[in-house]
């Protein structure tokens, strides 16, 4: 249907353009490259460079035809069989506007070699040689080219109804990813063996949007509905996870003298969710998203008001089940957003812009029924079932006021004061609200006496209370309690120590200063000089002893020379230096 609409549109445009006097412009560029690595090995030399031995012609073209209010523009570029883009823009009178585009490129990922994965914990029983948890590894297809072809088709259509008040619009977008990815199958706890193999990537995201814009005089209204579907056609894949063995031996041991089998299988198997069985791996669920958006704009007083409401539901409709863990509940996210802004003259040469935003996100709770810890073992039978509360469930509030003062042509002052708060429900545990508050301030000045000189200076400050932190991950909180083995258990287990990890140490800044300065000098139409400096510093004074800091320094110098209409020389030097004095969490326990 979409193809038919495009074809009809092209014919509809060609006819009037042919019948009347029209202007046609076109350009064509042809080049090529020859690549020879010779040995057939295709290295990852760059993220988007596709290399294959051989000669590859390249072509670029642009063709457009105008006739009054009708237009066809076609353009495209072909670089190699995996990298190309084509597009067209169409206009038919005042009523129809359309565009269609296709692009395709290859993205190299990489092969993760596994040689560096190593874990050794103990010597052998005699203490003479390394033993214990030695991870072994296997790459099943080391020469596989890992990456994916990404193709995107997009089409947009606008139709202005007679009367020029109402516009109907529709758009479609499909993104396809097709290739191979590396999948490392992790059986660390069972057999200490890693297997890497290439699996297919076959992702498809389809999005359809329909909308209506109405200019009603007193107000402009628009409504938009969007449907998005994500599916993966790869697989299904499964993998066998070995039976549990002793960490020191790595296998189920049979005493050569007595023939007795160790109880390691039971002991360590009882700590695992599954072992000695095939389970599904690398599956993406099918997700569906539906959103409605209503926008209203109107002149209120001397200013202009914009209000927007959006409702979105996102569902996981093909949740992959696992027989060992029972999950109860719907995988569904609901979002309700309300945005607004009001822009009005405050006094002569002064404008005030107020903006506000409210958003409520709710991700439904799930019940996760895990196997018991060390079921039927001494100190075991511990119920590890839990309710999964999502950190996505939250309320966001945002507001800002901005004043622009420009009394004269050459001079402008801007000031902004704003806040943003994110209140997460039940994060990380039920009832534990974790709230981040941000206050923002900005002050800027522009000096532009003539078109030949423009100078800008801007300072921004962000003050953040409780920046996001993975609350229970980083360090044990000092003095949080003394651990004792659970009844009947010989040791304190590592998951008990995990429970102590509760501290809101963050690797995010609590205060950010940003200074930006730019100067543009253009003495005449043939010469232009740009000089700029961007300085940014983030720190976290609430945890001074950890000395967290982020800095960015980016000076810039640019020169443009245009000696005539046909020659344009541009040189630019930009230096970006970013540093972070961050934190690294360390292991604190024995296994």
């Amino acid at each position: 249907m979409k193809k038919l609409i495009c074809v009809l549109l092209v014919f509809g445009l060609v006819l009037p353009l042919s019948a009347q006097e029209a202007t046609t412009n076109w350009s064509l560029g042809v080049a090529g490259n020859y690549t020879a690595f010779g040995d057939g090995y295709i290295p990852k030399v760059a993220e988007y460079k596709y290399y294959k031995d051989g000669f590859f012609p390249e072509m670029k073209f642009n063709w457009n035809r105008y006739n009054g209010m009708n237009k066809i523009q076609l353009n495209g570029a072909y670089y190699n069989p995996k990298e190309m883009l084509f597009g067209g823009d169409f206009r038919l009178g005042k009523s129809v506007l359309a565009d269609v585009s296709y692009k395709s490129f290859y993205r190299n990922t990489q092969l993760d070699l596994l040689e560096n994965i190593s874990a050794r914990e103990s010597l052998n029983r005699e203490g003479t040689a390394p033993g214990g948890k030695i991870l072994s590894h296997e790459i099943q297809n080391p020469n596989e080219q890992l990456g994916y072809q990404r193709q995107e088709i997009e089409a947009n259509l606008k139709f202005l109804l007679p009367g020029d008040k109402i516009t109907l619009r529709a758009s479609h977008r499909t993104i396809m990813e097709d290739g191979k990815m590396q999948h490392v199958q992790n059986m660390h706890c069972a057999s200490c063996h890693l297997v890497s193999r290439p699996l297919d990537v076959k992702n498809k995201t389809q999005s359809l949007t329909a909308g209506l814009d109405a200019a009603l005089g007193v107000a402009d209204l628009s409504y938009e509905v969007n449907v998005r579907k994500f599916i993966s056609d790869a697989g299904p894949y499964s993998a066998y996870y070995d039976s549990a063995g002793h960490p020191g031996r790595g296998y189920i041991w049979t005493d050569p003298n007595t023939g007795a089998t160790s109880n390691y299988y039971v002991e360590f198997g009882s700590r695992l969710v599954y072992h000695g069985e095939d389970v599904a791996i690398a599956a993406y669920p099918e997700t569906n998203k539906l959103s409605h958006k209503i926008t209203a704009k109107s002149n209120i007083g001397k200013g202009r008001l914009l209000l927007q409401y959006q409702n979105t539901t996102l569902t996981n409709d093909a949740q992959l089940a696992d027989p060992n863990v029972t999950i109860t509940g719907d995988l569904k996210v609901t979002a309700n957003n309300l945005n607004g802004n009001y822009s009005t003259p405050l006094m002569e040469n002064t404008k005030l812009i107020l903006a506000g935003k409210y958003r409520r996100l709710e991700n439904e709770d799930l019940s996760i029924d895990n196997p018991d810890w060390r079921d039927n073992r001494p100190g075991g039978d511990i119920d590890l079932d839990y309710i999964r509360y999502s950190s996505l469930t939250r309320t966001d509030l945002e507001g800002s006021a901005k004043v622009i003062y420009q009394p004269k042509r050459s001079y402008r002052l801007t000031a902004l004061l704003g806040f943003n708060s994110v209140e997460r429900d039940n994060f990380p545990i039920e009832g534990a609200n974790f709230k981040t508050d941000k206050t923002m301030f900005e002050l800027g000045v522009r000096y532009r006496p003539t078109g030949k000189f423009t100078g800008d200076l801007k300072y921004g400050l962000e003050n953040i209370d409780n920046p996001f932190s993975p609350v229970d991950q980083m360090f044990e909180m000092y003095g949080r309690g003394t651990l004792m083995p659970t009844t009947g258990a010989p040791n304190v287990y590592y998951w008990q120590r995990d429970d102590l990890r509760y501290g809101n140490i963050s690797n995010m800044p609590a205060m950010v200063h940003n200074i930006k300065a730019t100067v543009k000098v253009q003495p005449n139409k043939k010469v232009k000089l740009d000089v700029g400096l961007n300085l940014k510093k983030g720190s976290n004074d609430t945890q001074k002893e950890l000395d967290f800091q982020q800095t960015t320094m980016a000076p810039n110098l640019g020169l443009t020379l245009i000696p005539n209409d046909k020659v344009n020389f541009f040189a630019n030097y930009t230096y970006v230096k970013q540093t972070q004095n961050g934190l690294a969490a360390v292991a604190l326990m024995d296994g």
Binding site: L123, N316, N349, P449
Partner: protein, 315 residues
Amino acid sequence: MTTKSLMLRFLLALTVFGFGIMLTSPVFATGDEKAKKIGDSECVDCHEDIAASFAQNVHKIYGDDAGFLCESCHGPGSVHAEEEDATLIFNPKRDFNSAKKSICLDCHNGSQFESAFGTAHHEAANGCSDCHTVHSTAEHLLSKPANQLCQDCHTDVKAQFMLPSHHPVEEGMMTCQDCHEVHGGDNKYAMSSDSRELCLTCHAAKEGPFVFEHDPVNEDCAICHSPHGTTANNLLSQSEPALCMSCHPMHFHTTLTAMEGTFQAPLFPNDPNRGGTTTLDGFKKGMLTKCTQCHNAIHGSDVPSQGIGSSALTR
């Protein structure tokens, strides 16, 4: 000198500098109030070069102010024509005032332009003419190809696109407008939607909702990724495992003795089989390991991992 004191001095200097400039600044040219309309033909007499390129201009094609098209934007031009003085006519490029409504928005009041009336990106530029050459026939009347135009001002971003991992903007497969509403947008950095929402528009496989989640994915993609370009793979702001270790401890097998020298597990100080053999070499190798090799479902998963608790995101 404290940071607060430095800030106060800076703000004071900025204010004094600002008022100093204001006192010496020229006022706006808004055209002569006595002027009358003279019609396009009079304008063309002097501005032949502009008229030539204007013939196929979209304003010429769509303009419904036939015969007086020039003055529909520039205002009545009789005094300017008589005196031949450029300051006696309104020039939207020269006389742009960001405290007032742009004259372009009188007609371009559709949804995307409307938001420009009240957003930072609009005020940062010097009006529409900073990017658009209004009399030309170029695509969208842009003075340069779109990406190049953006990068003229956002030079630090331009540099980031040169880094080994980047979105394919330099390759011509993306434009800045794919993520940014250049005419406004109600979000920070003029993004067309909330940053997380925006990333997941194209990367829908990472959105879920999943049973087992990774909190930063729920929070903001920019906690781990830097969208314009990075030296680490996959647009990660740091290489693994350093990035992961800024929140999570490395597995204890590899790091224990590296921190303290020869290690004896505290619960078994006299048992040579329970410690003492993890080597510094192990820690070094650990630093060469990527966490996502095993935790490959890092953005979320519906199926449990092997260890009890199920949430290690390994399947």
